[in-house]
């Protein structure tokens, strides 16, 4: 593993009597595409929220590019891009306006912003609908736009919380291409997903988390070999069981 850009040490996050993240430790290398896997309510989103400074940890340490997320949150926020699970977008703005708004919030220079937004929208297949209000978009289009809003400032580290959920195969492949392009350009990506095929195909390493604990960590090929399984989904089922979980 190369030089770590994300370091998590003994991270604990409790909500009253519920422990959402339980003594989690891991490192993610610069330029790595890391998948955080786990059943519903396993603690993936809570972990992402602590990593990007939205939630204060109960205990433990999170270091991003050498910066303590809690103490130097403002500097960390300039390095990261976050695509949340619940697709928050402004329905009364157009796709382009949403993307430009977030470009401005990240401080992208005006002269660069328009070109960057156009390029990203074209890349993700929203160029033709860029000037339509988002209220008229389908769910899949909103998710793609949400990804554009997270990446408009070309962040060093992207936290993508289930970016392809509910998408058709074409949209999913467009997003994979965009993510792989980021990786090719040396960016670090942390993504959560329920699609094991997705994790197996694009992630360098994955960590499986359940009940807030990291239960395994490695490349998809290593895990398949280690657990003598046909694919990552089988590894996942073997580790987390067949019991259906409720959403967190």
């Amino acid at each position: 593993m190369g030089k770590p850009i994300v370091m998590v040490e003994n991270l604990v996050k409790k909500f009253e009597d519920v422990t959402a993240v339980d003594n989690l430790s891991l490192q993610i290398a610069k330029g790595e595409l890391f998948g955080l896997l786990g059943p519903n309510g396993a603690g993936k989103t809570t972990t992402i929220n602590v990593l990007c400074g939205l939630l204060k940890p109960t205990s433990g340490l999170v270091i991003i590019n050498g910066l303590d997320v809690q103490r130097e949150a403002a500097k960390v926020k300039e390095l990261i891009g976050v695509c949340p699970q619940d697709t928050p977008v402004y329905n009364y703005l157009t796709g382009r306006e949403n993307a430009e708004l977030f470009g401005n919030l990240y401080g992208v220079p005006e002269e660069k912003l328009k070109d960057d937004v156009d390029a990203l929208l074209r890349r993700i297949g929203l160029a033709e609908d860029a000037d339509r209000r988002v209220g008229q978009y389908s769910g899949g289009m909103k998710r793609r736009l949400s990804l554009v809003m997270a990446l408009v400032h070309d962040p060093e580290i992207a936290f993508l919380d289930e970016p392809t959920v509910g998408m058709d195969p074409q949209s999913r492949h467009a997003i994979w291409d965009l993510i792989l392009d980021l990786k090719k350009r040396g960016k670090t990506i942390v993504l959560t997903t329920h699609y094991m095929e997705e994790a197996e195909n694009i992630c360098d390493r994955v960590g499986v988390i359940d009940h807030g604990k990291l239960i395994t960590l490695g490349s998809p090929a290593e895990l398949i070999r280690q657990y003598e399984s046909k694919n990552l989904e089988e590894v996942f089922i073997r580790l987390t069981g067949r019991k259906i979980r409720e959403d967190a």
């Binding site: 400074g53 949340p84 928050p88 009364y92 703005l93 977030f102 919030l105 401080g107």
Partner: protein
Amino acid sequence: MKLQRITALVGKDMKKLLREPALLFLLILFPIMLTLVFGFSFGAIGGAQQTTFQIGLVNMNAESLYPQYAQNFIANLTSIQMLKIQVYSDNETAQLDLVQGKIQAVLIIPEDFGESCHAFQAAPNDPAKWINITIPLYLDSGSMLATQVIPPVIQQILATTIYGNKQAAFPQPIHLGIPSLVGVSKRTAFDYMAPGLFAYASIFLTITVAQSFTSDRENGMLRRINTTPTTATEFMISQAFSNMIIGVIQAILIFVTAYAVGFRPEVEASSMMLAFVIMLIFSLCNVGFGLITATLAKSSSAATGIAFIFILPQMFLGTFVGAALSSIAQVAGHFVPSYYVTDAFTSLLLRKASITSPTVLLDLATISFSSLTVLAFGVLLFRKYGKA
């Protein structure tokens, strides 16, 4: 602090105002409609054209030796359809109604009117025995029609009373005197309501601010913005700016609409400027109430209901509605910020107070203090308990 972020957020809010029909109605169309409806209902516009003149009459000759002359004169005046005679017991009351525009003229029959008429009747061809008097007629200087029409009509009736129908060309002992034209401020009920309309429109910002924050919280947008380098201060400043702009837009639109339906305040540019400054400051107060509402409300739909906790007292105790309330309720009005906005607007637009008058300055100080206090409290409350 980065201006780029603040202007981007303000731009977003302005687009929201123009593109969200409910918001556009509540903040822009509703105040315009309200002003129009009130203007047509209570203002100078919309009525039939005036064809009669209200004349106030004070008869000081009633207890003289010859009261029948004055009685005949009054009867002749009353018989003219275009004149509506309203009898007053004293000059002061009549003058007050003239100043307020309730009547167009005041005619005073002097104490020696009967004696003068009698002396003339006794020696119509001997002017040396006449008692020459003048009947004062006060006219509304603001009504060109009244100043042109009323004097000759009354002169004609006076001549008829003294000479009968045929002697109009003869000299006469009684003259109609017009001491001065009286400057009348004709105020309609709408004129008294208009200052309150400005505050009335602005208090609805409480709903929109509360809904905006709660819906952004519900759909995760506040959290999303929190992952960007945008600071809480930048975000709150953008909210304050957006709502101050909306407050000024409201004030301009209400003023233009009110003007169109007959509201004609005689104010200097400095007074108008101060009025807009007051609206800017007052909009901050409503942002503060909106933030308090957003902190208390679990959802954007609940926010609408909770917002009325702050809107109703301000509306009933502090705007034009307050004028019709009981004395206790009017005292209670002193505890809501909108009362001071309405009072300042009334002073500036109706009472012609200067911008340095103690009343206006006290109102401005009270509005500033209360608005900044409510805003600071709202920001602190929302940051501590409202973001979850």
